[in-house]
Amino acid sequence: MKQVDRIERIFTRFRNDDAPLNEPDFDAMWERIEQHRSHSAGMASGHPAAASARRRVSRTAVLATAAVLLTVTPAFAALSDKWVYWTYHSGVRSALEQGLGQQIGKTVSVGDAKLTVDTAVVDDNRTVLLFRLDLPDADPASYPRFAEMKLSDGKGNAIEGNVTFRWNPDDQIWQGEFSADWTPDSLRADVRLSAEKLQIFTAAQRDISIDAEDNRKQTIEIGQDGIDRLVVLPFAQGDKTLLSTSVFFSDKEAQSWSYPSIGVYDGAAQVKEAATGVFGKPGAEGEYTGLQYFRTTDLRGAAVHYKLNYTRKSGEIDGSWSVDLQLDKERMLDGTLTRPIDQTVETAAGPVEFQDMIITPTQIRITGTHEKYKELSFKHFYLEVNGTKLIEGYPSQEAGDYYGFTLRFERQPGLVLSEQTPIALVMKYEVTERHDNNPIHLADIGSGKKTITTQLGGYSVHWTYYKENGNLYIESGSDDPRFGGVNQTYMLDGKQRRPGKPVTANFAGDGNNRAIDRYPHFTGTEADLYIYYYSTDDPDKELRIDLPAPDRQS
C-alpha cells in the first residue's frame, strides 16, 4: 500500500472512530470555567458578590432536622460562617451549614505571606479545600494567583484542581477555594496541598496618542511592564474604523498575562466597540495582534482620547507553601444515600430510563440511560424539593459511555430532606429531530441575495443565498418559532456528500432557528441542497417525574 494511502487511512479511521479519545470531564471543566467567569465578574466590580439571601434561611429548620448537627461546635460554626457567603458551590455551603466540613486550621508562611487551610469538604466525588491567604498590604483591586497549586496523594500522585480567590473586605484578606473532582479511595487519606510562586496582577492603563484617520502605521513606544511598543494601523471600513494593533513585548512571559487592548474614551466614558474584536493571534514575529472595530463618528468627538489597557504583574513571591492534611469523608458519606428510581419515560428521542437518585450533603445526582448516541430531547432540567427549585442539572456523560447520563443538582443551604419530602424532576422544552430527504433547488446563484421559501414538515422555511469572495453563503430560518432550525446542509458531488461549513453555531433549544452554511470555492450558478436534519421546538412541553423520597434524614 502506498504510504500516502496509509496516512489517509490512519486519519480516516480516527475520524470514523466513535470515541477515539478518552475525553476529560467536560462538566467539571464547565464548572471551572463558570467559576473563573464569576470570579472575573466579581473582580471587575471590585466587590465580593452579595451574600445569598438564602444563607441564613431555615438555619433553625436544619438544626431541628439534621441529627448530625449535634456534633457541631460553636467554634466551627463561627469559622464556617466566614465561608458561606462566597464559595461558588451552593452544595458546599449547604454541607458547611450542616456542620459537615472538616476543620483543618493549619498555617504555613513564606515571609509575610501566610496560607491557612481552614476547612475541607470531601464527599463521594469531589474535594474542596477552603483557605485564606494573608498578605501584608493586600490590595483588593489586584488578583493573586499561584503559578501552581495542587494536591498530592499518599503515593505522590498530583491531583489538579481549580483555584479561585475572592477578597474578604471584613478581614482584609484573600479567601481561596481549591476544588478537585477527586475523592480519596478510603475514608481517611493523607494528602499534601502545595502551592508555588505567588503572583499578583493588577489592571493597568497608559495614555497613548493615535490618529485614527491616518491610514498609516503608527508606532507608540511603551517601554513598561514588559511591553516594548504598540503598532497601530487604522483602516476605514464603511462607517466603521478598524484599528489593527500589534504589541511587541520585551518580556515574553508578560505576553501570557498582559491582554493588551486599546480603550477609546470620550471624556471619562469608554466608547463601546462597534463589533467583536479578535485578540491574541501571534503575528509574523510572534507579537500579540488585535483587531478592534469602532464607529468612525465615535472617534471624532473633541474629547476622544486613547489608552492602552492591560494587566501587569505587580508582585511575586517566589516561594513554596505546603500543608500536610488528613482528609476524612466519613461523616459526609454517612449522609449519602442512593435510592433506586427505575422509571422509564417516553420522549421524542426514544425511551429514557431513570435509574438512581444519589443524595449527598452537597448535591443530588440522578442517573439514567437513553438510546445509544441519542441526547435527551428535553433541554431544561430542575429538581423541585418541597417547593424549592434546584436548577442546573445539565446532563453529563462519562467518556466512552454512549447510553448513560447524570444530572447534577447542587444542594442549597437550608434545604431539608426528610422521609416525607417530595422530590420531583421536571424537564422542559422538548426538541425533536426530524428528517427530510428532498433537495432544495437554488437557481441563479450570484452575488445578489436571493430568497426562496420551502416547506419542511409544515413549516415555511426561508433560504437566502449569495456569493461573496468565492464562497456561497446559504442562510436558513423560519418566522415560526416552533421551527428549531436546520442543523447543517450538504450538496452531492456524485455520491459523495459535500457538507457546508457552519458559519453560525446552531444549538438545539436555543430559540434561534437561523443558520448559515458556507460553501468555499463555489463556481456554479445552480445547486441542489440537502439537509442532514432539522428540529422542531416545543418550549412548553413539560415532563414531571415524581421521585422516591429518601427513606431517612440526610
Binding site: M1, Q3, V4, R6, I7, R9, I10, F11, R13, F14, R15, D17, A19, P20, L21, N22, E23, P24, F26, M29, W30, R32, I33, H36, R37, S40, E160, K252, E253, Q255, S256, Y259, E273, A275, T276, G277, V278, F279, G280, K281, P282, Y394, K501, P502, V503, T504, A505, N506, F507, D510, N512, R518, P520, H521
Partner: protein
C-alpha cells in the same frame, strides 16, 4: 445560543486540537479550558465566522502554552522519552489511547509545531485549505506547501517505524493486525 451551548458544541473539537498539538491529555485539558475562558472574555456572539475564530484562539492558546519555558522543558523530556523508544509513551497517555489515536499520534508527534497545527486542522478537524489559511492567517499557498511537507515527514515516519518494527522481528505479527486495521476495498 448561550455560552454553555457553545461550549458543548465545540468542546470536543477544541480538545482534540489541543490534544494533538500538545500530545498530552492533562495539558490539553488545561488549554481547552483556557480556550473557552478566553472565548467568553470576548463578545463572541458578534464574531462572524465563529468556528474559524474558535480554532484560531485554540491554536494560539496551544502555541502560547508551548512557549512557556517550564512546560517546554517537561515536554522536551517527554519527547526524549519518545525518541528512546517510539513504542513507549509517557505513562499518562498510553493507558488512555485507542489504537486509532496512537496511529495518529505517531504521525503527528514529530512534526514541527507549525506543521502539526496545519495537519491537525486538516486531518483531525477536516478544515478546508481556505479555512486553515484564515485560522493561521497565512496564504492558501503556504497551507498547501506546509501540508506537502507534512506528508513527506509523515511518510518518512511510517517508513522508519516499519523498518524499526521489522528489525525488532515483530513485523509479521503486526502485519496481520495492520491488514485488519486498514480494510482494502479492492483486491
Amino acid at each position: 445560543m448561550n455560552e454553555r451551548e457553545l461550549f458543548e458544541a465545540y468542546r470536543r473539537e477544541v480538545y482534540r486540537t489541543c490534544y494533538f498539538m500538545l500530545n498530552h491529555a492533562a495539558d490539553a485539558e488545561d488549554v481547552c479550558q483556557e480556550v473557552f475562558v478566553s472565548i467568553f472574555r470576548h463578545d463572541w456572539r458578534r464574531v462572524q465566522f465563529l468556528r474559524t475564530w474558535i480554532f484560531r484562539v485554540t491554536v494560539n492558546c496551544c502555541l502560547n502554552y508551548m512557549k512557556q519555558a517550564g512546560r517546554r522543558r517537561r515536554r522536551e523530556n517527554r519527547l526524549q522519552l519518545l525518541s528512546v523508544n517510539r513504542a513507549e509513551k509517557a505513562a499518562e497517555t498510553v493507558a488512555v489511547e485507542h489504537e486509532s489515536v496512537r496511529d495518529v499520534l505517531r504521525l503527528l508527534q514529530r512534526l514541527p509545531v507549525k506543521l502539526r497545527a496545519v495537519a491537525s486542522l486538516r486531518y483531525i478537524n477536516d478544515c478546508s485549505l481556505t479555512e486553515i489559511a484564515d485560522i493561521l492567517d497565512v496564504p492558501v499557498g503556504t497551507v498547501k506547501s506546509r501540508l506537502n511537507k507534512c506528508l513527506k515527514l509523515m511518510r518518512k515516519e511510517l517508513q522508519s517505524s516499519d523498518a524499526e518494527t521489522e528489525r525488532s522481528g515483530e513485523y509479521e505479527a503486526s502485519r496481520s493486525d495492520r491488514a485488519n486495521l486498514y480494510p482494502v476495498s479492492k483486491r
